[in-house]
C-alpha cells in the first residue's frame, strides 16, 4: 500500500471542483438563466424601474418642477372618472385601436396576395411597400398634416377640381373628421406591416399544396381558405394583436396631427397623459395615472398574444 503525496490529493480535489462547476454549467436551466441575465438586467433597469416609478408617481400629486409630491392614494385615478376629456380619450383610443385594425388586416392581406403574384418589378414594389413603415412617423405625420391642411390640402383641391365639393374639407376641424383622418393615416402607416408579415407567410405556403388542391377541384377562393389561410393564420393573429397593442400605445401620429384637438376631443391615452402630465398643467401624478389606465388593456392583449404564440409552439 502506498500513500499518495499531498500534491496529488490537492490536484484531485481541485479537479473535482472544476468538474463540478463544469457539470453545473452543463445543466441546461443554469446555462439558460446565465445567458438570459444580461437581458433581464436591461429589462429591470430600463423597463421595470420606470414602470414602478410611474405607479408610485400616479399615487402622488407630484408636479413638474417640484422635487416630490404628497402621497394621495388613488385620488388621481378616481378624479379621472369625472373628467369628460378622459372619457373621450378612452373612447377615442378604442376606436383608434380597434376600428383601424380590420382595415389594415384586409388591405395588408390584399397587398400581400397581390405582391405574391409574379410580375415585372415585383421586388421594387415589395421594397416600396415598406416605406410608410420605415419612414419615422414623426416625419410622415408632417406629410399628412400638409395633406389634411384646412387651406392647402391637395385632397380638397382635387375634389373641388372635380366639382365634387364646394369648399375645403375641414379634415382636422371637427372631432368626427379628425378621428376619421387620424384613422386613415394610421391605416396607411400600419398596412405595410400586415402586408410584409403576411407576404412572408404566403411564401411559406408550399406550391405543391396549391397544385394538389387545384387538381382536386379547388378554385382560387377555395384554395385560399383550404391551403393558404391555415398556413398564414398564426401570422395574421400575431400581427393583429401586435398592431392593436401598438395603436393603443401610439402617440406620434395624433400628437403631430391634432395635438388632441379640436377642444381636446381627439386625445388618446398617450397624448392626453403627455398633455396633463408634462405639456400643459404639468400634473405628473394625474398624467401617470392616465397612462396606467392603458395597462390592463395592454396586459390582457399581451397575455392573449403570449398564450397564442405558446399554443402554436406546442
Amino acid at each position: 500500500m502506498t500513500t499518495a503525496p499531498a500534491g496529488t490529493v490537492r490536484q484531485v480535489m481541485s479537479f473535482r471542483l472544476r468538474d463540478r462547476v463544469r457539470h453545473w454549467l452543463d445543466s441546461e436551466p443554469v446555462l439558460a438563466y446565465l445567458f438570459m441575465s444580461p437581458g433581464w438586467l436591461i429589462l429591470l433597469l430600463f423597463m421595470s424601474y420606470p414602470f414602478f416609478l410611474g405607479i408610485w408617481i400616479s399615487l402622488t400629486d407630484r408636479t413638474v418642477g417640484l422635487p416630490s409630491g404628497e402621497f394621495v392614494g388613488l385620488r388621481n385615478y378616481t378624479e379621472l372618472f369625472r373628467d369628460r376629456t378622459f372619457h373621450l380619450t378612452v373612447i377615442n383610443t378604442f376606436i383608434y385601436g380597434f376600428v383601424t385594425v380590420p382595415f389594415k388586416l384586409f388591405l395588408g392581406l390584399l397587398l400581400a396576395l397581390l405582391l405574391n403574384q409574379a410580375f415585372p418589378m415585383r421586388n421594387v414594389l415589395r421594397a416600396a411597400l415598406l416605406l410608410p413603415w420605415i419612414v419615422p412617423t414623426a416625419l410622415s405625420s408632417l406629410a399628412w398634416l400638409m395633406l389634411y391642411d384646412a387651406v392647402l390640402s391637395p385632397f380638397s383641391w382635387l375634389l373641388k377640381n372635380w366639382g365634387l365639393i364646394e369648399s375645403n374639407i375641414a379634415f382636422l376641424g371637427t372631432r368626427t373628421n379628425a378621428i376619421i383622418s387620424l384613422c386613415i393615416a394610421n391605416i396607411w402607416r400600419g398596412t405595410p406591416f400586415f402586408a410584409v408579415a403576411i407576404l412572408a407567410g404566403l411564401q411559406a405556403v408550399p406550391q405543391e399544396l396549391h397544385e394538389a388542391a387545384a387538381i382536386e377541384g379547388a378554385n382560387r377562393v377555395q384554395r385560399f381558405f383550404a391551403v393558404t389561410l391555415p398556413v398564414i393564420k398564426g401570422i395574421v393573429v400575431i400581427t393583429t394583436l401586435f398592431s392593436i397593442i401598438w395603436t393603443f400605445a401610439d402617440f406620434q401620429l395624433v400628437y403631430v396631427l391634432t395635438k388632441g384637438g379640436p377642444a381636446n376631443s381627439t386625445h388618446i391615452f398617450g397624448t392626453y397623459a403627455w398633455q396633463i402630465g408634462i405639456g400643459g398643467a404639468g400634473k405628473l401624478g394625474i398624467g401617470a395615472a392616465i397612462s396606467l389606465y392603458m395597462f390592463p388593456v395592454l396586459a390582457v392583449l399581451s397575455a392573449i398574444l403570449l398564450r397564442y404564440v405558446r399554443s402554436q409552439e406546442a
Binding site: E208, L209, E211, A212, A213, I215, E216, A226, V231
Partner: protein, 364 residues
C-alpha cells in the same frame, strides 16, 4: 378509366426544351412507367398531363377528350406528389375527403369511400391524425389514399417512393403493383430508378433530354434496346460497351477488338456485313459473359486478367481487363476469383448487341 395520349407534345421553359415532341399512347388500365435520368423531363411531362403546365405545342388526350386547354380539376386525374403534398392542418380523414367535399358528394358517401380506402391501405387507425404525426411510409399511404378515393380516370405518380427507406420502398413497390392491378386504373408513374421501372410497369417509356427513346415492355427493353442510351440505362451493372472493327472474309463476319476476335451471331451476319471494315459499338450484358477462374475452358474462350472482384452476396461482379477498357461479368458467388489472375471468359455470342457509332441506334 381511360387511355392517355401525348400527341407531339413539346414543353419549353425559356431556353430549355424540357419535353421534346413526345408522342406516347398509354392504354386503358395500363401501368406505364416514365423513366430517365434526373432532368430529362419526366416531371414536366407528367405536369403537362395534369394541367399544371401549359404545353408549348401538341395535344393531350384523356379518354376521348382533348384536354390540352382544360384546367387540372376538369381532367379527372389524381396525382401523388413526391413530397406527398398533404394538407398539414387537416387530419388524414379530411385530407382524403377534401376532393370529394369539393365535388359536393353526400356526407355518407364520402364517409363510406374514405373508410373503405383507408381499410384497403391499412390506415384506418390513423384517420384522426395530422400528417406531421405520421411516419414517411404512412404519409405515402395517405397520399395514395387521397388519390384513390376520388376514383379518377388516371393516376399520376411522381417518384412517390423516393422518400422512403430502401426496405420500405421495395415493400411498397409490391403493394402498389397489386393495388394498381386490382383497381385497374390507368397509371403513369415517374421514376429515375430503372429497377422500379422494370419491376412495376406493364410498359416502360425511357426518356433522355426531353426525347422519348423507347416505349416497350420491360423484357423487350432489356433484350432489345433501341439505342445505346437505353442499352446502358436499363440494367445494373450497365451493359459493357466497346468498339470493334467488322472484318469479313472466308465466308465469315468477325468483330475485332484489340487482340480479341468474336464471331458474329449467325443471324446477324448480313446486318454486320454492311459495316465491313468499319467500327461498330459492341454491347454485352454482364450476365452474358460466363467467367471461370484460371485457364480452364476451351481454346475459343477468352483469357482476360481479373482487375477487381465485388462480391454482392447473391452474385459476384468480376471486373476484367478487356481488349478495350474494362468488362464487367456476373459470376457465381461461390466461385473464387483473385485480382491479377487470369480468368477464362465465354461470350454468349447470341446475346451480343451492336450499335451504329454515329446514330447510336441498335443494329441488333
Amino acid at each position: 378509366m381511360a387511355q392517355v395520349i401525348y400527341d407531339h407534345v413539346t414543353k419549353r421553359f425559356d431556353g430549355v426544351i424540357a419535353v421534346n415532341d413526345l408522342t406516347l399512347e398509354v392504354k386503358d388500365g395500363e401501368f406505364l412507367v416514365l423513366v430517365g435520368p434526373s432532368g430529362c423531363g419526366k416531371t414536366t411531362a407528367l405536369r403537362c398531363l395534369a394541367g399544371l403546365e401549359e404545353v408549348s405545342s401538341g395535344d393531350i388526350i384523356i379518354g376521348d377528350r382533348v384536354v390540352t386547354h382544360i384546367p387540372p380539376k376538369d381532367r379527372d386525374i389524381a396525382m401523388v406528389f413526391q413530397n406527398y403534398a398533404l394538407y398539414p392542418h387537416m387530419t388524414v380523414y379530411e385530407n382524403m375527403a377534401f376532393g370529394l367535399k369539393l365535388r359536393k358528394m353526400p356526407k355518407q358517401e364520402i364517409d363510406r369511400r374514405v373508410k373503405e380506402v383507408a381499410e384497403m391501405l391499412g390506415i384506418q387507425d390513423l384517420l384522426n391524425r395530422k400528417p406531421r404525426q405520421l411516419s414517411g411510409g404512412q404519409r405515402q399511404r395517405v397520399a395514395l389514399g387521397r388519390a384513390i378515393v376520388r376514383e379518377p380516370q388516371v393516376f399520376l405518380m411522381d417518384e412517390p417512393l423516393s422518400n422512403l427507406d430502401a426496405k420500405l420502398r421495395v415493400q411498397t413497390r409490391g403493394e402498389l403493383i397489386k393495388l394498381q392491378r386490382r383497381l385497374g386504373v390507368t397509371t403513369i408513374y415517374v421514376t429515375h430508378d430503372q429497377v422500379e421501372a422494370m419491376t412495376m410497369g406493364h410498359r416502360i417509356a425511357v426518356m433522355n433530354q426531353g426525347v422519348l427513346q423507347q416505349l416497350d415492355t420491360p423484357e423487350n427493353l432489356y433484350d432489345h434496346p433501341a439505342n445505346l442510351f437505353v442499352a446502358t440505362f436499363i440494367g445494373s451493372p450497365a451493359m459493357n460497351i466497346f468498339p470493334a472493327r467488322v472484318v469479313t472474309g472466308e465466308g465469315a463476319v468477325r468483330l475485332v477488338a484489340g487482340d480479341v476476335t468474336l464471331e458474329s451471331p449467325a443471324e446477324q451476319r448480313g446486318r454486320l456485313a454492311e459495316y465491313a471494315n468499319r467500327e461498330v459499338l459492341v454491347g454485352i450484358r454482364p450476365e452474358d459473359l460466363i467467367v471461370q477462374p484460371g485457364q480452364v475452358g476451351e481454346d475459343r474462350h477468352l483469357r482476360l486478367p481479373v482487375e477487381i472482384v465485388e462480391p454482392l452476396g447473391s452474385e459476384t461482379l468480376v471486373h476484367l481487363r478487356g481488349p478495350v477498357g474494362t468488362l464487367i461479368a456476373k459470376a457465381d458467388p461461390h466461385v473464387h476469383f483473385s485480382p491479377g489472375e487470369l480468368a477464362s471468359v465465354r461470350v454468349k455470342i447470341e446475346h451480343l448487341h451492336a450499335f451504329d457509332p454515329q446514330t447510336e441506334l441498335a443494329l441488333f
